[in-house]
Amino acid sequence: MSTEVTLRREQACFRDLNWDVQLARAPRSWADLRSALAAGGWSGWPGDSPSLWCIERPDGHQLVVVPRTGRIQLRLHYTSHLEDRAELAERIAQQLARAADRA
């Protein structure tokens, strides 16, 4: 069964760049999820730690994850076109959900 994911636009002063991502089911192993994301090209940036993941893709989109509480925030790069942001967020959230399924 695939993990459902719910996206919610977060209030910020940057239009449609920040999204709250909720996985219907927590991954069985956060460590495995991290490994799966790394295999998918996500790597840490300054501030990254076991209690607060700060990871990004080569195209600049970022995830901030608090494993202890399950909170996930997706931060799209500011160069993404406004009209594409909702769809882009959906695609990345689905990628995350698939990685969570494998974890």
Binding site: E10, C13, N18, G47, V64, V66
Partner: protein, 423 residues
Amino acid sequence: MPTSIQQLRTYLPEHDLMAVSGTPAVYHCHHFNLFLDQTVDDALGEEAGEQQRFISAREASRTFLGTLCTMKGAVTPVEKVECAAEVFAAMGHGRLNIAADASGGEATGEFLHYGFSWREKYGQRVRRRRPADAFAAGYVAAALELAYDLPREIMGARETACVATRQERCHFDLRRTAGTSTPPLAPVREEDLVKHLRPTFKGRDEETIAGVAKGLREFTAGVSGDARGLVQAFGVFVTMHLAGYYNRLCYDVITKYEKDNPRSIPVLESLLRESGHVCVFNTFGGILASPEWEGMVGKHSGDPQPIVAGCLAIARALGFGHWTLHEFEPNKRLVVRAPATYESIYYLARHGTATRGNEYFLQGASLAIAQLAHRAKWTERPQFTQEFYDALFRGGDLPWKVEQTASTAMGHPHSEVVVTHVD
């Protein structure tokens, strides 16, 4: 090579007052920056307001850039101008391209903090008639004065195009003027403030507040302008900014009103206090609601005391001063004390002893802290929208009131504000 702001940033030990290359500095978001600039324009009129903002920026920037260029080893005029532009971007103010010399010239700006964030916040609903980047104009003027060893206050700058007025980019004309007959005011640097400092002290929950402030300072040490020269964090655009700019703006306007329009001072003071509401709601709220906070401190319990303590930690990390929790009785009373704030210490150094409590940001921010702690549903992860701000702060009489009962600017041993619930 990009400048690391971390290398330039210092905090006065136990006072939580920040400086960048020896010049008093604080972090503020675009909401506060735009609100304060607008308050000045509303108080003085658009043209006089713009001029006030320009001269405040030029003065604060000249003080800052003098020390900065020395620290960075910039010697030639070209090196100094490049250094100034580089640090401007690292501090989150945007990108400047300066093509000028001792007689003047021009500069262009991309993603300048004030103009760009004004357009992002208001541009879809409001048509702006005048440019927004007086701070950048003053900064560029100061950079040229310093680079070419010119007398202070001799370089004029005028923004002739601005993204906030729906033009493609920002443009400045720079021209050397005859200067003014009034000697420039003595600069206010960190060393000028230190001699006015009182002994520091601890408050309630000190260990928690100090620990969180330390964590936030460590986090912000890595924050610097992105490729645009902007800092996008906690849902807002953040600047590392010159405290002298804010303070000169605020107290020059108050001084003008004391001379020309004393009956309107209460209204002006209430607007300056409101700048504290705007900052706490947007920046403190954004930090408290962030995943970074959740990772560092954990989920919110719904109890107001941790919110109050968190806010005081944020104030310290942003360089506002050693704000302490003196008293807190939920739903009744909050007392915040500080041995000095970035406002009081400037006022003492520049103006001498104050005759009334005039730390307007401290007053407004403390009231806003009480509001946020009691009226935001923290367990439901509130969204800090304009609608929510209006509901908290503009829906009629506020349920809280604030009074400044002591001020180090008045010669008291500490500054103190008392926030009480209106029954």
